[in-house]
Amino acid sequence: MGIHRGHQARPVEWLAEKFIFLVSLSAIVMVFLIFLFVAREALPLFFGETNTALVQKPIPTADLEKLSPAKLQQYLELTPAQFAAMDKDTLKSLMDVKQEAQDEVPEEFRNDPDARINTTEWRYLVLPHQWNHYDKPEYIWQPVGQIQKYNIIPLLVGTLKTTLIGLLFAVPLSVGAAIYVSQMARPKMREIIKPTIELLSGIPSVVVGFFALLVMATVLQKVFGYQTRLNAFVAGIALGFAVIPVIFSIAEDALTSVPRAYTQAALALGASRWQTAWQIVLPAALPGVFAATVLGFGRAIGETMIVLMVCSASVMSWSIFDSARSITTTIAAEMAEAVSGGPHYRILFMLGALLFAVTFVSNMVAGAVIQRFKLKLEGKR
């Protein structure tokens, strides 16, 4: 393998080759390790090993002797290694802590039917439930408090809402700009517009978020006159600004790389510039434009700071003028305070895995679609 064409590879070249190989290998290893880590942290949730029921019957510390070791280990949530290393006093104090946790539950919650529910069961994670003090079944994400409510649907809706608004705003604008720059603009114009749009991607998203929070929110509220100042619409538009340079630069590349013979043939047959761009070049570059859109989707769904700064109330509503909370925002904002290894922590990792799966699947689907487009364009199907 490697560089052995007619002469002995020099040691430096050999080293360089091995180094590059190691770098690429490490990328694969990293992806694999990250996925493994996320999956490992979320796994107990899938096996139903977490229990968030507020009121649980504690075993009195005096009964320590009566319990079988296996049962004790399960009750105290210990790994076999931890259990083996512990002396009786430590076990006792662990049991005391369990007892104290129960003693601290406020009187009002002791008789609350919700306090006996394990809120990390799947039906509470994805289906609406009528909690005590609510009039109807609702989707609620309120992970901190006596009764922890972990319904992930408001977060999914929030993520989709902001992402779709962002794409609806960004795709027409950036594809339009790409068509103009690659097909119609005079070279001088192109030299100004292209770097300027691409410069947008150099603006850190936290700055875009800051701008949206202070300026765009006020302006848009004045224009549209809705009640909630910070909502999914503002976040979506701000996301659009982050996505535009991504879609633009790839779409522009795709449009520019359509063979000039196509354009020249169309023009020679009497088509106008506009007809050529719209009916010849754009269809020919469609796989590239589609790929750009999918990459834009990945960027939008994974963007954290903008949505975090602009809106983050976990309202279950499809209205674009209501607030929204995306998955990324939730992870970024809540991970620091979650008890490590606790149910909240596990659910945040589960959300991370979900996000990974969504982008993975969307990339795969996009790949397949692009392949089909290409075959069709080349007349092979």
Binding site: L76, E77, L78, Q82, M86, T90, S93, L94, V97, K98, E100, A101, E104, P106, E108, F109, W131, H133, E138, I140, Q142, P143, V144, G145, Q146, I147, K149, P154, Q227, T228, R229, L230, L308, M309, C311, S312, A313, S314, V315, M316, S323, R325, A333, E334, M335, A336, E337, A338, V339, S340, G341, G342
Partner: protein, 282 residues
């Protein structure tokens, strides 16, 4: 080359040993609420004790406890009491409960827009407003207008405290907008005539801070320093530092004592919190 690698390894090991052996390195991690105060303490303590190095990082109370149980930090700043699960994790990690020290007081005010005619509310009324039971200002004696709620991220100790003690454990209304910090709440309330928010008593610059009644019959109390320190203002909490008892000796114990002494407590007011009452000091 081999010689070089060998000497490099020896040097690295030597550096590592000397770093871990040098006395008086204290690491502090935890609550962002306490971060500025902790830095202030560290600076002033290092100023008078040149041999002690204190490094302070934030990240949140939960992060602090995780670090405490992994033994990557000596002290854990906390804006709330340790949860049972966290105590259990500590016992599993180092066979002992973390020692808890109260280090300061924080009073929470309820902010409204300066134009609001409202002056006082009971704790129960504030709770009803934030759970969404009370939706219009006229129900609590204000103008006929819907109430806009501004709350904190649920990772904040302030959020949790407010939920437990003012909302009595009930959920915040879903429409409550979560803001990234107290300053953002103040900004929002200043811009919103019908807004209401909450946060540290010293951070409400420009907003109107309501007087709070413990219940219908008790007098309305302003969130002033004297009222918070004496405990007559109803919404206040302790701020804590947790430490692994095995480490609570030598430099660390001296530092903790200093924090809770009159000398250390005088910095508390500078960052907007309230010093411990005399009987809890050292």
């Amino acid at each position: 080359m081999k010689q070089f690698i060998k000497s490099f390894c020896v040097a690295a090991v030597a550096v590592g040993i000397s770093a871990s052996a040098s006395a008086g390195n204290i690491t502090v991690k935890g609550s962002d609420t306490l971060l500025i105060l902790a830095q202030k303490w560290a600076e002033n303590y290092m100023g008078s004790h040149a041999d002690v190095k204190i490094s302070v990082t934030g990240g949140g109370t939960g992060t602090g406890f995780a670090a405490l149980q992994n033994q990557t930090t000596d002290l854990c700043d906390a804006s709330r009491k340790a949860k049972a699960a966290e105590i259990a994790n500590c016992i599993k990690a180092f066979n002992a409960r973390p020692t808890e020290y109260k280090v300061a007081l924080d009073g929470l005010s309820v902010y409204v827009n300066p134009e609001s005619p409202l002056k006082e509310l009971t704790v129960a009324q504030v709770g009803d407003i934030f759970t969404g039971k009370t939706k219009n200002w006229k129900e609590v004696g204000g103008p006929d207008a819907p109430i806009t709620l501004y709350s904190r991220e649920n990772s904040s100790g302030t959020y949790e405290f407010f939920k437990e003690h003012v909302l009595k454990g009930h959920d915040f209304a879903a429409s409550a907008q979560t803001m990234p910090g107290t300053a953002a709440i103040v900004q929002a309330v200043l811009k919103d005539k019908y807004g209401i928010g909450y946060g540290g008593a010293a951070y409400g610059g420009g907003t109107k801070q309501l007087s709070i009644k413990k219940d219908d019959t008790s007098p309305a109390i302003d969130p002033t320093e004297n009222n918070v320190e004496s405990g007559t203002y109803p919404i206040w909490r302790y701020l804590y530092v947790y430490v692994n008892p095995a480490l609570d000796k030598g430099d660390i114990a001296a530092y903790l004592n200093w924090i809770r002494s009159d000398d250390g407590q005088k910095y508390v007011k500078e960052v907007g919190y309230f010093p411990l009452p005399k009987n809890l000091r050292n």
